[in-house]
Symmetry: C2
Subunit: 373 residues, 2 copies
């Protein structure tokens, strides 16, 4: 039966005592009855003592093995082994001013959108000895401030933001904290610090052109209410109208079905139903997520509408399933892994003192042409 209590032993007073017989001068009774704490874990001092070296030497043996004699190295390693010592990185971080923590903020981990980026960051940073702290900002600003406080308080070596920060106050505090910041998933000429993203406007524009080239004449949109999705949709509408689609009516007249995040298949179905009512001869729909697109396709199928013959569908995200649908989904692909890797590299380099020269990276996007459009 696994006895387990958050409080370990009751003060193991005597920190020395072990198979070792060297210098056991403990000084003149360092045991006072006054201020004394310690949770009773094994510390670097215990290891050093057991190895017969000074704490700092043990520290070096663990952190910069090359700076220490092989003999000492071995003794320290044995002591670590014997004691099961695990360095306290909180203490190390306090002393060295390097927490080896990186905060990653996403609107939400629900939904497939930010999975790739979170996954890549976690992996890449872990390989470099960093741990990811996860924060969810929600799609509203409200939580941003509290979250920021919690993050800055932990003195991370970097912050990766998914989507640029909205509140000016937040940007200011982040800037003031001096923590390296990478904003992602969007573009702006004035990032807080570093930026790895792509243009939502360009996506909307290019999708409109793509559909125009393929002879579509009556387009519509199903999209999330969040700000970035809106920008894709607006830009799509403007370009579509500029190209003479939808009978040259204003962009504002272009049928749009707005859904609240997270986007779902069901919303896609309802979206198509609604749009067909607004504009029965719609021949192309741009969706702000692949899940919405799937919903549109399923709804179309159940109505006997041929994809893409009668109705073209374009998604966003290139989720794993999109290439396996029938017909396969034409969609916009974002290289989440690439963004994650670059963001991680930015932070690792900064921590290593390497000056990052090109602070803004546009990773672009690609329209994956398949049968649905």
């Amino acid at each position: 039966m696994p006895q387990h209590s958050p409080l370990p032993e009751n003060t193991p007073d005597d920190t020395s005592a072990d198979a070792r017989g060297g210098r056991d001068d403990d000084g003149p009774e360092p045991r006072r009855r006054g201020p004394r704490k310690s949770a009773g874990g094994i510390t670097l001092r215990d290891v050093a003592q057991l190895a017969g070296v000074a704490p700092i030497t043990a520290s070096r043996a663990l952190n910069t093995p090359s700076a220490v004699s092989p003999k000492v190295l071995q003794k320290v390693r044995e002591a670590v082994e014997k004691t099961g010592y695990v360095p306290n990185l909180l203490a190390g971080g306090l002393a060295s001013n390097k927490s080896r923590l990186v905060a990653v903020v996403v609107p939400t981990v629900i939904g497939p959108v930010f999975q790739e980026i979170v996954h890549t960051l976690t992996e890449t940073l872990a390989a470099a000895g960093y741990q990811v702290m996860l924060g969810q900002s929600g799609y509203e600003n409200s939580r941003e401030d509290a979250l920021l406080e919690a993050i800055i308080g932990r003195r991370p070596d970097g912050v990766v933001l998914t989507g640029i920060m909205r509140s000016a106050e937040a940007r200011k505090r982040l800037l003031a904290s001096g923590i390296p910041v990478v904003e992602t998933w969007d573009l702006t000429p004035t990032p807080i610090d570093m930026l790895v993203g792509f243009s939502h406007e360009a996506i909307g524009r290019e999708v409109a052109r793509y559909l125009h080239q393929r002879g579509r004449k009556k387009v519509a949109v199903v999209g999330g209410r969040d700000e970035r999705s809106q920008r894709r949709m607006q830009s799509f509408a403007q370009e579509a109208v500029a190209l003479g689609m939808n009978d040259g009516q204003g962009a504002a007249a272009l049928p749009m079905y707005h859904v609240i995040a997270p986007t779902t298949l069901g919303q896609g179905r309802r979206g198509l139903a609604d749009l067909l009512q607004q504009q029965p001869d719609t021949d192309a729909i741009f969706c702000s997520s692949d899940l919405l697109a799937l919903g549109v396709m399923i709804e179309a199928q159940s109505r006997g509408i041929a994809i893409s013959g009668q109705l073209a569908v374009v998604g966003f995200g290139d989720l794993e399933f999109s290439r396996d649908l029938q017909p396969r989904l034409t969609t916009v692909r974002i290289d989440g892994t690439g963004i994650g890797q670059r963001a991680a590299r930015f932070i690792i380099d900064r921590a290593a003192g390497i000056e990052v020269v090109e602070r803004i990276v546009d990773v672009g996007f690609s329209i994956i042409q398949r049968e649905s459009a």
Copy 2:
């Protein structure tokens, strides 16, 4: 133009100096040329000085406002406001032996399976002042050890494991660390510490019964290779055979299509194709994820096989889209939110010194009956 450098100002020497005219005795030149560090941020001392109180008083004003006079409280708050002070939680954690960090370990964040749990933990713990550290163990053991080292080194106030720990070594170290541990997503009579999960065996069994009751006679399985998925499938096979399905052939003969995680729609399609070759008169398939089930359904559709008339399909996970499919997907629902909340509660209670009496919670599961089976 946002100038930004990881190194803030160059030693803001004069920490006092502000719109205030009280006691400006700085003591006799506290500036030495010897050992001196500090990243130059604003510390509690600065705040205390500005407020005209001792650091400890400022600390109390922030942490236990009720233990301080209203007058002091206000002065400290003003000082915090004025300086933009953010407490260094690393230092606080070191001193108080409470990091307010909780490690959450999942096999991977890719795929929808653990989203709900990660989301809920992050939210619930954030509301209680904890930050989540994310770790991915992968589906192999190899990374478990390195990950554990990184986690324990940060002295989190709790660890939430998704799936029970495999390596005995890992279990031992976790136990030795004295950190509260919550294992989830599975059941075992001998957890490391606390447990919130459900029985994968029971799921397989119940699904077999469910299909049997509905008159299915020739069943098959599409499932992931990971250990928990395997247990569901094995248990399903055994029960199916025990109930006389598949002509009473042994469980080992029950057709199974194994896929490597993460499970995908495409694998579901291939799975059905393969299974129909093995056993053309298959009339029910249990899939180890909803995505696989969707793949099976799409493949069936493209082959003109009627769901559920000719072929019943049962998924696992009850993803958001499952209720919007056509036909709607019958599936096994796990209450990820509930698991996350209970796990968070376990850890928060432990941190508050509340003794957790019932350390093992079986949250169960439910079979959501819809049209696909």
